[in-house]
Amino acid sequence: MKNSHSGREPIARIVKRGEPSFRLKVVVRACAVLLALLLDAGFIYFVTGLNPVDVYVTMFNGTFGTLMRFQWALRDFASLLLIGVALAPAFKMRFWNTGAEGQVLMGGLASAFVMIRFGGIVPSGLLFTMMLLMSVAAGALWGVIPAFFKAHFSTNETLFTLMMNYVAIQIVASCVTVWRGQASGLGKLNTKTKAGWFPQIWGQRSTINVILVVVFVFAMFLYLRYSKHGYEISVVGESQNTARYAGIHVGKVIIRTMILSGALCGLTGFLIVAGRDQTISVNTAGGDGFTAIIVAWLAKFNTFYMALISFLLIFLNKGAGEIASAYNLNSYAADIIEGIILFCILGSEFFIRYRLVFGGTKGKEALR
């Protein structure tokens, strides 16, 4: 022991836990959310002087106030969650796909292109098929470019995919400029023919989005857990050397997985355009591409946890919007509330992976 070299002893030492129990995970995460809600309440009280409990009730109404609000919340939940699901395989492979925003935009752009070019010309079944295929292809293309360079030259993918977002944004901006012509904005596409708009189910065009998301949550879970591909992904993610030794072609897995991830992002773009916006703009992804990164990471690639976290974030977001309009605040309050909750959950992971041992090294712990 090296006590002799300094008289000071740390108050606590950090020890890595073995496999954390399910109960521990739940308790720690619940504490994190609780702490975040307390901090948010403090923030709200500090700014507005309102009773935080009243404010939280208002917040609740943001999602559950009326049926329509709930449906809108579900709609946004579907977009966020689907991007998270799309990112899951890439992240599990330890490939930092920060380019979801751009991949969604390219998918949406492809859909919008088909709507404008072929809307009202081809039958609607064919139109939807074309939109689907084009957007999936566009998203996959945007995802596979960084993957190719990662696989062959180990180019840093975090930064590459991040930059691809802005290239995509400018391409969308350019196309919107062309399509809008002299008008000040693009507006909804095909307003007369409604070609390429999803049909309304239960009063909402986005119902199809929600249904598809549920399907993908299950499908991705099974793909990652039970398929051979999923196994290869997790081996590459754990250690590329092990994967090579086991005869897995690492480059091939990287490229294949990013095609899948990009394609799903592109599909999200299609769903947003057909089921939510009926148009395209640089804000079509609206930052969800970045938020989904956090969702996918916090959920540790488990798509069901992703659903939980996405819902929490959408709930907070809608709630903050509701507070903002009810108490005359501006809507950026949502970003603050979201930031605080993310910090808390991120920080709480520490207590799941490690435990603190209090007291000096002279204690029993040190003798083990």
Binding site: Y166, D335, I336, G339, E349, F350
Partner: protein, 328 residues
């Protein structure tokens, strides 16, 4: 020729904003921390600088402009450093994932600045802080020396401070023991730790000081480039990502900031000035496309550096990884 001069006069201040942002990020990344919270930090710096100057001007009967400038600088640095502190607490002490923490910090910083920005202005839009005039003070004698004087000395003092900062950082990283230690932490924290360097302290300090420097980028944007107007600052986020791109472009070398940042400024304003210089008119959809040039250039640099595999051009080896002494 006129257009070319106007282009330079536009490109240099623009480059300065991202020079500060990127200089701070280089300092952070040299310690192995990839801070994607730079846009949020630049927001925080810009907001704190603006708010302190604005409130001081409003509160004081006879505002002293020099004091106001100092106050704004101090607040911007402090706000940025607080952002860095949140980041380092989560990533260094609690070992949270760096990318995710950074993105959360961007959301948070953007939220805080815009929320309280509206709060400080109290309903008034397009309110200007008059301190921008002090920020834009030209060198009295030199800037009068014809065109050359204009081009070389026609900027506010923060442009020259940025140049000094980049040179200073270069000397710090290559000539001082502390700088070398810092790089050791970013390359291989375990080895640095074994040789008696306090990895945690280095990571904390580099991240907080780096974030403070990035905060100056936001400050410069609001109080000089944007003439003291807070209302139209949705652009800071895009600038933050551009600063991150610039870090890659310079291959983590502060000296390259000196030309890289101004080149980015040129590229950014390419869409407006190049058609004029060439005497052609281009459709507006082309200008939209031209605006992607800085990002494409960055991607090309990223690919080229990974192709050439020159050791001195690579990112710090432990970039993006948390360090835990007992993990072996």
């Amino acid at each position: 020729m006129e257009t070319l001069f106007a282009w330079i006069l536009r490109a240099v201040p623009f480059g300065t904003i991202i020079l500060y942002g990127a200089a701070g990020e280089i300092c952070t990344e040299k310690a192995g921390n990839l801070n994607l919270g730079i846009p949020g930090i630049m927001y925080l710096g810009g907001f704190a600088g603006f708010a302190s100057a604005y409130l001081y001007e409003k509160g004081a009967e006879n505002p002293n402009m020099a004091l106001c400038v100092l106050l704004a600088l101090l607040c911007a640095f402090a706000a940025g450093a607080v952002g860095g502190l949140i980041y380092s607490f989560l990533t260094v002490t609690l070992r949270a994932n760096q990318n995710v923490t950074g993105l959360a910090l961007t959301t948070f910083g953007k939220g805080v600045s815009n929320f309280f920005g509206v709060y400080v202005l109290n309903g008034q839009t397009a309110t200007q802080s008059m301190v921008y005039k002090t920020f834009q003070t030209r060198m009295p004698f030199l800037s009068g020396l014809g065109t050359v004087g204009q081009l070389l000395f026609g900027y506010g003092f923060m442009v020259y401070a940025a140049v000094l900062l980049a040179v200073g950082m270069h000397l710090f990283f290559t000539r001082t023991r502390t700088g070398l230690n810092l790089r050791a932490v970013g390359e291989n924290p375990a080895t640095a730790d074994a040789s008696g360097i306090n990895v945690t302290r280095y990571k904390y300090l580099a991240t907080c000081i780096g974030a403070g420097i990035s905060g100056f980028g936001g400050l410069y944007y609001v109080l000089d480039y944007n003439q003291g107007i807070w209302a139209t600052t949705g652009q800071i986020e895009a600038l933050g990502w551009l600063a991150l791109a610039l870090v890659i472009f310079t291959t983590w070398k502060p000296l390259n900031l000196l030309w890289g940042s101004f080149l980015f400024g040129f590229l950014y304003w390419l869409y407006q000035f190049l058609p004029n210089v060439l005497g052609i008119t281009v459709a507006s959809y082309v200008t939209d496309l031209v605006q992607m040039v800085p990002y494409v250039v960055t991607i090309v640099v990223l690919v080229l550096t990974s192709l050439r595999k020159k050791r001195e051009d690579q990112p710090p080896a432990s970039l993006g990884l948390s360090y835990f002494r007992e993990d072996r």
